[in-house]
C-alpha cells in the first residue's frame, strides 16, 4: 500500500489518466455498436473492451496490481466459480445430446424440459 507521499502523488496522475482512458473506451464501445456487427462478433468485441476497462478499474483504482497473496487467492477462487456459474447452467440447459429434443434451434416453448 502506498503510504509514501511521493508514490501517492505519482498515482494521482495515473488515476486521472486511467479515468480519461475509460472515457475513451466507453465512447469506442458505443461507436463499435453503431457498426452493427454480427451478434457473436458484437458480443466478443463488447466483452473484450469491457474486460479491458474492468481490468483498469481493478488494477489501478482498486490497487489490485500490487495487492497481497490472500486477496489474489480469494479472487482467483471467486473467478473460477464465477466462470462455472456463467457457463455450466447454460451448457446444461442447451445440451440435448442423447435426448429427444431437436439438436439446434429454439424449442417451441422456449424452455427445454418444461412441457
Amino acid at each position: 500500500m502506498q503510504s509514501d507521499t511521493e508514490s501517492v502523488k505519482k498515482s494521482v496522475r495515473t488515476y486521472f489518466m486511467v479515468g480519461a482512458a475509460l472515457f475513451v473506451f466507453t465512447a469506442i464501445t458505443v461507436a463499435v455498436n453503431q457498426v452493427h456487427l454480427a451478434i457473436p462478433f458484437a458480443i466478443t468485441v463488447a466483452l473484450i473492451i469491457a474486460t479491458l476497462k474492468g481490468s483498469m478499474v481493478a488494477s489501478v483504482f482498486m490497487h489490485l496490481s500490487h495487492e497481497k497473496r490472500w486477496i489474489y487467492g480469494a479472487l482467483v477462487l471467486t473467478v473460477l466459480f464465477f466462470i462455472v456459474l456463467m457457463c455450466v447452467p447454460s451448457f446444461t440447459t442447451m445440451d440435448t445430446i442423447g435426448t429427444k429434443e431437436p439438436a439446434v434451434g429454439v424449442p417451441e416453448h422456449g424452455t427445454p424440459g418444461a412441457h
Binding site: T92, D95, T96, E101, G110, G113
Partner: protein, 593 residues
Amino acid sequence: MDNVSPHGSVAHGHVHEHVHEHAHEDLGFWRKYVFSVDHKVIGIQYAVTALLFLFFGFSLMMIMRWQLAYPGRPIPLIGQWLGQDRAPMGVMLPEFYNQLGAMHGTIMVFLGVVPLAVGGFGNFVLPLQIGAPDMAFPKLNMASYWSYFVGGVVMLVSFFQRGGAAQSGWTSYPPLADIAPGQTMWLIGMVFLITSSLLGSINFIVTTVQLRAKGMSWMRLPFFVWAQFVTSFLLLLAFPPLEAAAVLQLMDRLAGTSFFLPTGLVVSGKIVPVVGHGNPLLWQHLFWFLAHPEVYVLILPAMGIIGEVIANNTRKPLWGYKALVYSVTFLGFMSFVVWAHHMFMTGMGTVMSAFFQTTTMIISIPSVVILTALLLSLWGASIRFTTPMLFALAFLPMFGIGGLTGLPLGLAPSDIPLHDTYYVIGHFHYVVAPGTLFALFAGVYYWFPKATGRKMNDLLGKIHFWGSLVTINLVFMPMFIEGLAGMNRRMYDGGQQYQHNAGVLHWNVVQGYAAWGLGLFQLFFIVNFFMSIKWGTLVDKNPWQATTLEWLAPSPPGHGNFLTEPIAYRGPYEYSVPGAPRDFSPQFEPEKA
C-alpha cells in the same frame, strides 16, 4: 511471528483486565446479553435459538408422521385447534401437509442445523481455538445473529398469513412456487438468512487468517477450525446465487415477470397471464448451486467436531491430519461443481449428465478419506466412552450409511427409479440426523463445561444417546425399503392410491412410533442441559484433559478470553507423546526445561 499489537490482544496483567472488566460491567443487561458483541454470547444466542427451531421443526415432522401413518384420521389433541384452513375437523388438508413438509425442511436446514453448527459452535469455539480475543468484526457478528433472528421470525410468522406458509417444498421449484401461497414471506425470510450467513462467513475467514495466536501456524490448527474455514468459503461464494434467485422469484410473484414461467402455462384450466419465455430449470440451477454446497455446510462442521472429540477420547493424535486438511479443502472446492446431480431427471443431455456424475463420484473420495481417517484414529486407542465420544463413535457408521446410500443417487441410471422417493429422504436424513445432529450433540456435551464451568450429567447423557441411536435408526432405515419399492416423497397421504406402495405403507406406523420415541429421548437432553447450567458438577478449565487452545481459557472465559497471551507451542493433538509426563501435551504449554 509476533502478532501481539501494541495495544495487546490480551489483558496485560491484572490491571488492564480489571479496568476492562469494569468497563464491561458497565454495560447494561441489554448490551451484555441481548445486543452483545462478544462471540461467546453470540454463539450461545445462535445455539439456543437454533435448538428451539430444531425442536419446532421436529414437531412439524411429528404432525406429518401422524398423517402418513393414519391418513385421513383426525390429528389427536391439537387437530381441533389447527383451524378450518389447515385441518377441518382435525383432518389434515393436503395444503397443510405441504406446508409442514416445506417448512420442516427449511427450518431444519436454515434455522436449525447451520445456525447451530456454524453460528453456534463456530462462533463460540473458533476464536478460542486459534487464541484470539474475539472475532475480527464483533459488531458485524452481532448483526449476523439478529439478521438470522429476523429471518427466523419471518419464517414462523408465515404460518399465520392467509393461504398458509410456503408449501412448495424447501426447494421452491417454479412454476408452482411462483404462484403458490406463502412463498413471498419464505423468500423474504431467506434474504435475511442469506445475509446473516454472508456476513458471518466474512467474519470467520478474516478471523482465521488474521487473528491466529503466536505459533498457531496453519498446520497446527485444530481440524475443527479447518472445517469451519472451508465451510465459510462455501457460504460466502455459494449463497449469493440463491439470493439472486430469491429476488427473481419475488419479481415473478410481485412484479409480474416470468423469469421461471414458461410460455403457455396453464393453471386450473386457465392460461397464466404472463409474457412467458421463462425457464423453470433456471431456478433449479441457481437453487442447487447453493444447495449442494449447503449440504457440505451441514456436514463439515460436524466432521470437525467429531475430529476434536475422537482425538480427545482416544488419547492419540488424529490419524492423517494432513490428509484430513487436504481432503476437506478439496471437498469444499469440488462441492461447487456437482450440483446438477439433483437434476438428472430434468431432461439433461448425456454430456452434462456424464460431467456431473463424474464430479459427484470424485467428490466421494475426500469424503471417504475423512471418514477413514477418523475411523483409523480409533486403532490402538485408549478409548474413553464419555457421552461426547459415544455420539462421535455412532457418527462414523451413521455417516457411512448416509454417504454410501448417496452413491446410487449420484449415478444417473440408478437415480432414475430412486429420484423423489423415500430413498432420497432416507439418504439425506442419515447424513444430517444421525450424522450431523449426533455430532452437534457430541459438541454440546464436549464444550458445555467450557461455556458454563459445569459438566452435563453423564447418566442422562448416555440414556439420551442410546435412546436416540435406536429410535433414529427405526425412523430412517425403513425409508430405504419404502424408496426402493417406489414410494414417492411429498405425498400427503403417503401414496395410498398406488399399488406399488401397498406392501410398504405399514412402515409408516413403525416410523411414527419411532419418531415419538426419538422425541421423548430428547427430553433427557433438554432436562440435562438446563439442569446442569444450575446444578452440574463444577469443573476447572480443562476437565477433558484436552490439548487445544480453548482449554487454556477459564470456564467460562471472560471478555477477551485469555488471562495470559496464548501461544501455540506444538500441534493440536499431542496425546500420549513418548516420554511426556502426562498422556496429553497441550498446545498452550511450553516445553519443560
